[in-house]
Symmetry: C2
Subunit: 152 residues, 2 copies
DNA sequence: ATCATTGCAAAGCTTTTGCAACATG
DNA sequence: CATGTTGCAAAAGCTTTGCAATGAT
């Protein structure tokens, strides 16, 4: 079991949840991928090593992990959310509008600094209590730029 | 008909689409609201003045308008996308994680400037052709802060 | 008059819920 | 062993598609 897996599984136990093989498998599927995966993709990945698992269990596990903020839930369009390892540590997104690929990047200090200041201003003006921020770029990845304008 | 409506409707005709009362109604529902509306909300709004309309037509119209970039499609979580007037051009979002309310704000010049520079760097490093960006803050709006921790 | 558009109904998806059987701590 | 968890099946969303009737240009 990878260290990142262990972080998550011990967190689960700390919160009083039981550690089932299914949960471990879902956790591993997420931590062992760099990409953002949809529930169905995770289900398929898990099914390879763990044939009996139910899609329902994947959904329930994802919901649980996201609520505990042990994984990151992202909505980029399409019908499904997608999930990725790593919590709220400020990584931001670069989303390909062609194939849906998502690349994370760390926000440079300069931006973070300005964003935090902006947060303060917005909070004062709007009355919101701001908890988090996300900077997202959309465009076309290298492959999709080369590809002839596909049906998408 | 509001000027913003006219912009959109003439754009539709320019693209060779017919100008039906249903389409006008959907356009008007969107331009006459400050909020981001879900397809169902738009359907209900339109139904008031236009009882016969089908939800299907609303979906089709939204899809069309979003493809032509005459309205802005936003995914914030929950199961539905939401739509708002204006293209995606540089307004950013403040999303309440309690009630889902979305407030737009214009990004200050300082941020835009830094973001554009970051875009260049990311583009070079990742090979993406970057088309747009979105800065999104999440938090709790004033009402939800006051509300006793609800079921959400 | 023509061809896009509408609305209905039905299908397709993703996601959630009810419940008996099961397995973890 | 007790309770949380699983998996099936079925329900509940939201969204799309097929098709005849309608209506804009």
């Amino acid at each position: 079991m990878k260290p990142s897996d262990r972080n998550i599984t011990t967190a689960l136990r700390r919160h009083g949840y039981k550690l089932t093989p299914q949960r471990c498998a879902v956790v591993h599927a997420i931590t062992s991928s760099q990409d953002h995966l949809t529930p169905t993709a995770i289900f398929e990945k898990v099914s390879q090593n763990h044939p009996g698992i139910g899609l329902v269990t994947v959904y329930r596990t994802l919901k649980l992990l996201a609520e505990l903020e042990l994984i990151c839930e992202l909505h980029t369009g399409g019908n499904c959310p997608s999930y990725t390892a790593g919590t709220s540590h400020h990584h931001h997104h670069l989303v390909c509008s062609g194939c849906g690929k998502v690349v994370d990047f760390a926000s440079p200090r300069l931006i973070e600094h300005n964003v935090v200041e902006l947060e303060g201003r917005l909070s004062r003006e709007s009355g919101f209590r701001i908890d988090d921020h996300l900077l997202e770029f959309t465009g076309l990845c290298q492959l999709c730029q080369k590809a002839p304008a596909s049906s998408v």
